[in-house]
């Protein structure tokens, strides 16, 4: 694999963007610039996130079972869903509180 790879390119481009471009962007483009930085940040974190799936198979029968109440009040299912959601939030919005 050629280096720097996708994640490394994003990281260095984003750092440079934040350091050199974002501070001098005209007021009218500031929101766009912040969104660009945000999108790159998400992409970079997604590329470097561990790939292990927390949830197993979640296809149509999973959905049907959930809607039928198979896991009503199920502490373990809730825990797994929450853990999976936390992992995704860490990628999409690490500052979420």
């Amino acid at each position: 694999m050629d280096r720097p790879d996708a994640a490394e390119l994003i990281a260095v481009a984003l750092a440079r963007f934040r350091a050199e471009i974002l501070p001098v962007v005209p007021a009218e483009q500031r929101l766009t610039a912040l969104m660009i930085a945000n999108a790159l940040g998400i992409a970079g974190r997604e590329l470097t996130a561990p790939g292990d799936a927390i949830l197993g198979e979640t296809g149509a029968s999973f959905v049907a079972d959930m809607r039928r109440g198979r896991w009503d009040g199920d502490v373990e299912m809730h825990r797994l869903l929450l853990q999976d959601a936390k992992t995704r939030v860490a990628i999409a919005n690490p500052r979420y509180a």
Binding site: I42, F62, V63, D72, D74, H78, L82, K86, V89, A97
Partner: protein, 333 residues
């Protein structure tokens, strides 16, 4: 889908004449914001003086779930007549030969609606409590309106619990979506099992939140965006206003990111004969996260499908993680 709006000099001249025979348009400028409608600032000169208006028309990629411009205008008129602080409605024009699409005209309201500015700007400090109370009071005034209403015959009157109607809608969306959303399915199941029964129905705004009202340094200047209003459970509007996802990061100020929950509810109670059930508000706050998650998925999909490539829509799509997370937190076993 609406037609692209005609902004040629001839069209503006026709537009002016819908307001007054001697009117001329002196300013016509697209306003930012509004993913579903096109809004324009319109200044008009007549013998009687200048008028500062807003024109609202459908955007080309309109969303089916929101009202037509005519229906939205009717809602605005009803809200105005009830005494709410809203942009004063001027006229609705169904004639598509004027600017190429039906449109509504209303008086332009001063100030800002930008949520992240309103919650952060210390100018509102001290006035925040008054603003929250005022917003509570305004909502209570809206909730005095009950079905049936002669000008709102187009609004369906639910014969099922509003919560169950919403859940069925969201499941329908998820059935057609590109992949399952386990967290959202968990949340919807919890919401189904805990759904309040069909109770009293009131006119709900359905997008009553920070970001949809204008303020200037005098306070509230107008409540906007009546495109989703309909008959529903009053706790739905209160829950949407207080939902964590609508605090623009000012998470400690539970009422719309501007003040404490009690400040908002105090204003509501002062103008309402109804007791607000805090448990019901919490229920609808959870539902708010489910609803916003579905909207976020829809907006992300507009980008992903190529229908409307947009950085804004793309990023909105990625907000679903925090919305699902919050929904799970609120619907734990």
């Amino acid at each position: 889908m609406g037609l692209k709006i005609d902004t040629s000099p001839a069209a503006l001249s026709r537009l002016a004449r819908t307001i007054a025979a001697d009117a001329t348009v002196t300013r016509f400028e697209k306003l930012a914001g509004g993913a579903i409608q096109e809004n324009y600032a319109v200044d008009v000169e007549t013998a009687g003086g200048a008028q500062h208006l807003v024109l609202r028309a459908d955007a080309p990629s309109g969303v089916a779930v929101s009202h037509s411009r005519a229906e939205e205008f009717a809602l605005l008129q009803v809200a105005c007549a009830a005494g709410m602080t809203v942009p004063q409605p001027i006229l609705f024009c169904a004639d598509e030969t004027i600017v190429g699409t039906p449109f509504a005209l209303m008086r332009r309201v001063a100030g800002t609606a930008a949520g992240h500015v309103i919650v952060r700007d210390d100018k509102w400090h001290g006035d925040r409590i008054a603003l929250a109370e005022r917003l509570g009071r305004e909502l209570a005034i809206l909730h005095r309106i009950r079905p049936p209403h002669p000008e709102l015959a187009f609004l369906p009157v639910p014969d099922k619990a509003p919560a169950l109607v919403a859940i069925a809608d969201y499941r329908g969306f998820l059935d057609a979506y590109r992949s399952p959303r386990p967290a959202l399915e968990w949340g919807l199941r919890w919401l189904e099992r805990n759904a309040p029964p069909l109770g009293e129905l009131v006119l709900c705004h359905r997008d009553y939140r920070t970001g949809n009202y204008m303020v200037d340094d005098t306070g509230l200047t107008g409540i906007l965006d009546w495109e989703f209003a309909g008959w529903g459970d009053p706790h739905e509007d209160i829950g949407w206003f207080c939902a964590k996802c609508w605090r623009f990061g000012a998470n400690d100020r539970e009422a719309g990111g501007i003040a404490a929950r009690d400040d908002f509810l105090r204003g509501y109670a002062a103008a309402s004969g109804r007791r607000v059930d805090p448990a019901q508000v919490r229920y609808w706050e959870a539902m708010a996260h489910a609803r916003w998650a579905v909207i976020a998925l829809q907006q992300g999909e507009r980008h992903v499908s190529g229908a409307e490539p947009s950085l804004d829509l793309a990023l909105t799509g990625r907000r679903v993680a925090e919305l699902e997370y919050e929904l799970l937190v609120m619907t734990g076993p």
